[in-house]
Amino acid sequence: MSVAAQSPARRALSTFFRHRLAVFGLVVVAVFVLAAILAPWISPADPLQTSWTAIRRPPSAQYWFGTDENGRDVLSRVLWGARASLMAGIIAVGGAVLIGVPIGLVAGLAGGWIDAIISRIADAMLAVPFLILAIALAAFLGPALENAMLAIAISASPVFVRLARGMAQDAASSDWAEAARAMGNPPWRIALRHVLPNIAPPLLVQATLSIAEAIIAEASLSFLGLGQQPPSPSWGSMLNSAQRFIESAPWLAIFPGLAIFLLVLALNLVGDGLRDALDPRSQKR
């Protein structure tokens, strides 16, 4: 029952197990990325093509995932939906990194009142739960996928401000930053050449986990009608319309949700794996 008593074989096995899970996650993410890129060529049908003769057909050899209330092929819509989700996840988090990291670096390296102001703003944003902030921003910006992405990017940015600020403070007080300063390097050079490369690994971990969160947020906003607008396919908006046919056509709700779940699960596996691999401090005890 003791925690310390852990044979090397067992430890190797558990590392291997986690490692394998991360690789599995990476493969699943790659499949989704490929599906998104290749959607125009691999989709069996046009995702917008309605057909009054094939309304709400259950899954079959012809329609693997069935058809929706307008006779559109669900598989094709799920494949095209991967585009909206992945694009939203990557662009929103990319935006959050571009907003958050420079601001966090400035706060961490400048200190003083600049740091105080930036930190209080980040605190204020973090006081509003992520999804509520995103919904409020998207509501005021107006319903569109681009606005949803912008809203998610802004809502996700304070996490990166905090991360970059903390890491910059640690790095700035380290011996090598001290040495770089003593050699007469200007602060911006220290930030770019010495601090940024050192904070890249935890940023990568956080970005991966944030993409997972952003994909759920995009699906949530689209589900509420604040993201991708119909008839363009998006997993969230597909789930919204599926709700009305839950009794007669449950496959409409199963497949888009399963896609979100699998992609987010895979991203979380990759994120956890990256954390274990890149950050020795967070190694699972």
């Binding site: 605190d123 509003v128 910006l141 589900f223 789930l239 979380n268």
Partner: protein, 315 residues
């Protein structure tokens, strides 16, 4: 303790001021002229428009509008709903008990599942039970809760017919029916809390189990059950209690979609309906109220942390 509390509250005030300004400034992002939305059919009448602008102070500079808005908020006046024509504060107070019931039930489910699962996972570290619990927690974190909600309606309402798919009955009107309508949404929200609490409990327990006092207790011959329950868990729970408080606040956000799916007339449904009706004062009011609750819960978490951690209590 009193001095610490005052300092902590002093830190909150600038955060709240920035927050209030941010929420106020949201309306500047709004496409179109609010006066046109409010005027409705009279939008062509410049007299009506001017009157509305004067009433809402839209013809004044932004800082003046903000100070006016803030002075009203400080006395509990969150403005008037554009659609329902009721005070926003009253609307929020009306819906809050519904969401509070849902959040409390979810939280209980989350704690009852999450904490024991975290303890088991730590005690059986790297055994199949640990892997299994971790896998379930990972599923719980990755599952979009609105999809889980739809799937549960599909299973328990459509297929099995055990539970009503939607609707809400207040607790004081019919407790049994009230629980029947809220148990599914509470479970949906509770799984997320359980997953997060499980991970934190596991990490805290693993830390506690390697401490000297645990080794001492074992060396004295204390039964393993007692070591885990009395010595390790009690200490491991300190960070879990504070995290649990924060999680409770996050339930408010999770409730937005869950209430939508189960048609529960709470806080979340209020904000979603307001978004669609372009009822901006309600959106602002809900965001502000959520933030206030969240900040209050963080403060409560800090106070609890002080109270249950004897080393800090007398510091």
């Amino acid at each position: 303790m009193a001095g610490w509390l005052l300092r902590r509250i002093g830190q909150i005030i600038p955060t709240l001021l920035i927050l209030s300004f941010g929420i106020f400034a949201l309306q500047q992002l709004m496409p179109g002229d609010p006066a046109l939305i409010l005027a409705g059919e009279d939008r062509g009448d410049p007299v009506v428009l001017a009157q509305i602008r004067a009433e809402l102070m839209l013809d004044r500079p932004m800082w003046e509008q903000y100070l006016h808005w803030l002075s009203r908020v400080l006395v509990g006046d969150f403005g008037f709903s554009w659609r329902i024509r009721e005070p926003v504060g009253a609307l929020i107070l009306d819906k809050l008990p519904v969401t509070a019931q849902l959040a409390t039930m979810s939280f209980i489910i989350g704690v009852v599942i999450g904490v024991p699962a975290g303890v088991m996972s730590a005690v059986w570290k790297d055994k199949p039970a640990d892997w299994g619990i971790n896998a379930i927690a990972l599923f719980g974190i990755s599952m979009p809760n609105f999809w889980l909600g739809i799937m549960m309606i599909l299973l328990f309402s459509v297929q099995l017919g055990w539970l009503p798919p939607s609707g809400y009955v207040p607790l004081w009107e019919d407790p049994v029916q009230s629980l029947a309508t809220t148990i599914m949404p509470a479970f949906v929200l509770g799984t997320g809390v359980a997953s997060v609490l499980m991970r934190h409990t596991r990490a805290a327990m693993l830390g506690a189990l390697t401490q000297d006092y645990v080794r001492t207790a074992r060396a004295k011959g204390v039964a393993e059950r007692t070591v885990i329950a009395r010595h390790a868990l009690r200490n491991a729970l300190v960070p879990v209690v504070t995290l649990g408080t924060i999680e409770f606040g996050r339930l408010l956000a999770g409730a937005v979609l869950t209430e939508q799916i189960f048609s529960i007339p709470g806080f979340g449904k209020l904000v979603v309906d307001a978004v669609f009706n372009r009822d901006y004062p309600v959106v602002q009011g809900v965001v502000l109220a959520t933030a206030l609750i969240f900040v209050a819960l963080s403060l409560l978490a800090d106070i609890l942390y002080m109270l249950i951690n004897p080393r800090l209590r007398n510091a």
